[in-house]
């Protein structure tokens, strides 16, 4: 019975100016969040009937976002802007997606690949992380022959640095494998571009007409104090966060590796917390030393997410706020501790410029020091390939991602700007569009900057509170299995029903796709009947109606973008000035009445 349609009247439209629900506006790739939330809310409660329906929703998501099974575990950017945020808690969109993901992954592993006609040019992708794979996926679907060059021995890039207790290996591996297989991308592993014989020129000679460079940020940033590198970073026991996470994900670090050791983690970002929580799970007595202060609302507040801080705190990780590292104390080539002066300011008007109070200094003992203060691109390779300008910065157009030095090269992902996974994916999509325009010699910028307006929270008397997210208690989660419990079918339906579906219909159309409605028909106002009383303004839950002064007097007008065609204003209007076009309800009531009359007549 459960069957959705995504074509014709039910296809989601894109427009240059359009309203979106805030979650979709916030999502860098504008995933159809509202549509899939509504579809989840209409799932059958019987698991066997729901399973094919869940896959249908998954297929719909997959088409636009093949990384969605991973997003369901690690992203949740949309939740930050949810209209419900201030009224009872954001919709748990990430967990809803994870719920779809859990059913979808086994299906994806055996899903039959698409038959795509690859009749277009060869395109090279340098770097098999989220940005590169997303570009490759999109270009393959457009008919380009894509080859991905990956420096390491597996695709995924920085996604492998996400600890397993947050993202299970199977989800990531299957997603990556599925992407490559579904669209038929060529992959060359262990091939580093910009080093040795593999150069951009060689790619050009091999027949690649365009290249997307998304090599990410493989180089850890070193610890500095007063703009000078801190001495002692070559001591035994000092390592960098990225390297550490890489080794853990490759299984090169045995369990209980840190048992009986004191681990100090420097940094206040999410990666530092990943490192600390991983070190804690390896048995270390762990402390985080962050430059930033505890108050997240201040300018100098710690950048890590609240959930990470809470998780770390629960797991017994000590967090030392507002401390820098001035010196690493070494003893016979081993690191023994760090000297931490109080940090009085992190940022000033110009940006990052920490100040310290030398009188207030703390000495922390430790056996292992893991520096996680950020990472950067491999500048040498970029310089050799001539992708930087005279100031040593990347020379790239921020809108089209086209390199200013080499017109056939496009640059994106963390390499261009460090951000969330989905921001890298967005770069991939932007680059794919740019590459197509470049190869077809079309205008590179026309219509690229899209302006979205966000719809406000609808009016209602009650708002529902968010469900509690269940974490395994800290004493039972000192392992690399997931610590967060996902939604059951019933919980997912319940949470999806909480979604206010505050965005406009045109970017959703869930009800049309599932057959609850034939089409969307916004309200029309019969101006000769409207007296401008304004009852409709208060009847509308979506603030779609306004009063407007015209020559004849005052009338009401409806914003067709905001109108949901619910008919509240139609039934509220005392002068019958509002209609839903050819509303099936009116016609149906007439038919119904005719049927009644017939029966009454027969009975008499």
């Amino acid at each position: 019975m459960w069957n959705t349609v995504s074509k014709g009247a039910a296809a989601v439209e894109r427009a240059v100016k359009q309203y979106l629900p805030p979650c979709q506006e916030q999502c860098p790739i504008n995933e159809d969040i509202q549509r899939t939330n509504v579809l989840i809310s209409l799932l059958p409660e019987d698991p066997s009937a729901a399973a094919p329906a869940i896959l249908e929703i998954g297929d719909y998501l997959y088409d636009k976002n093949p990384f969605f099974p991973v997003c369901g575990y690690v992203c949740g950017l949309c939740e930050l802007e949810c209209n419900y945020h201030a009224k009872g808690g954001a919709i748990k969109r990430r967990l809803l997606k994870r719920f779809i993901s859990d059913t979808y992954i086994p299906y994806l592993e055996t899903r039959e690949e698409w038959t795509l006609v690859k009749h277009r040019e060869n395109v090279a992708i340098v770097g098999g992380g989220p940005a590169g794979l997303m570009a490759g996926y999109d270009l393959s679907k457009r008919g380009y022959r894509v080859t991905v060059f990956e420096a390491s021995d597996r695709l995924g890039g920085a996604l492998w640095l996400i600890p397993r207790y947050r993202l299970p290996e199977r989800v990531l591996a299957s997603t990556l494998e599925g992407m490559v297989r579904m669209v038929g991308m060529d992959v060359k592993l262990n091939t580093r571009i910009g080093q040795g014989k593999w150069t951009l020129d060689k790619l050009k000679n091999e027949g690649f007409k365009a290249v997307f460079i998304a090599q990410g940020t493989p180089t850890p940033r070193t610890l500095t104090f007063d703009r000078n590198p801190v001495d002692g970073q070559d001591l035994s026991g000092v390592m960098y966060g990225q390297t550490f996470l890489y080794e853990v994900s490759h299984g090169n670090i045995r369990p209980n590796y840190f048992t009986g050791k004191k681990v100090l983690v420097i940094g206040g970002g999410n990666v530092a917390f990943d490192v600390a929580r991983t070190a804690r799970r390896l048995g270390g007595e762990t402390a985080i030393v962050a430059l930033e202060c505890e108050d997240k609302s201040s300018r100098d507040g710690i950048p890590a997410d609240v959930e990470e801080i809470r998780g770390a705190w629960e797991e017994g990780i000590r967090i030392v706020y507002s401390r820098g590292v001035q010196k690493i104390i070494g003893e016979s080539e081993r690191m023994k501790g760090v000297v931490c002066p109080k940090c009085t300011r992190v940022y000033d008007e110009k940006g990052f410029n920490p100040a310290f109070d030398p009188a207030d200094t703390l000495v922390l003992d430790g056996d292992v020091l893991i520096v996680t203060v950020g990472q950067g691109p491999d500048w040498t390779a970029l310089q050799t390939e001539g992708l930087v300008d005279a100031h040593g910065r990347l020379s790239v157009d921020p809108v089209t991602l086209q390199s200013r030095n080499r017109k056939w090269a496009f640059v994106g992902g963390d390499l261009r700007k460090i951000g969330f996974m989905v921001e890298a994916m967005q770069d991939g999509l932007v680059a794919a569009e740019s590459i197509e325009r470049h190869l077809q010699e079309r205008d590179m910028t026309e219509g690229r900057k899209r302006v979205f307006e966000v719809q406000d929270i609808p009016m209602r008397r009650h708002y529902l509170t968010e469900p509690e997210v269940v974490w395994i208690p800290p004493e039972k989660r000192m392992h690399f299995q997931l610590f967060e419990r996902g939604f059951t079918l019933t919980e997912a339906i319940e949470e999806a029903r909480r979604c206010l579906s505050c965005g406009p219909c045109i970017s959703c159309k869930a009800c049309v796709s599932i057959g609850l409605r034939d089409s969307l028909n916004p309200v029309e106002v019969l101006t000769d009947r409207c007296c401008g009383c304004g009852i409709c303004v208060s009847a509308c839950f979506y603030s779609a109606i306004q009063l407007k002064d015209v020559d004849m007097g005052r009338i009401s007008v409806t914003d067709a973008f905001k109108c949901k065609a619910c008919g509240m204003c139609v039934s509220a209007c005392p002068s019958g000035a509002r209609t839903l076009g050819e509303d099936p309800l009116d016609a149906a009531v007439i038919t119904l009445a005719a049927g009644l009359q017939k029966q009454v007549g027969a009975g008499a």
Binding site: M1, P44, M459, C511, R517, A539, C566, A594, Q597
Partner: protein, 132 residues
Amino acid sequence: MDDEPKLVCFSCKFGWGYLTKQEGLKDASDFLMPVECSGKLDAIHLLKVFKEGADGILILACEEEHCHFQEGNFRTVKMLYLLKEVLQAHGIEKDRVRIALSLDPEGRSIPGRIAQMKKSLMALGPLNRTLL
């Protein structure tokens, strides 16, 4: 059957029977009418069906706080409160209009609810349409 009461049932598409084929639900009553939102119903619609021969009206609306269009169900409850007063002033029993606020995706309870209401309509007897 000539003396069977004529019951018109309006049901919200977002809360009732969306997992069942609409034709299947039609069997439950000759006069079942799915609507996008119960809040869309106007008193005029209800009076019209009374006037044309209905003996009673059953409205199946979404659960409280779960209307897809925010509070359409609440609007209907408010509207019905007033409508019932008006009907009573004209000598028509309030019980001829009922609303159920619940969720039933498969619509299993719809035939039962209709039968139950028909039974109480039977006790009330046919509606004297001259009162309208």
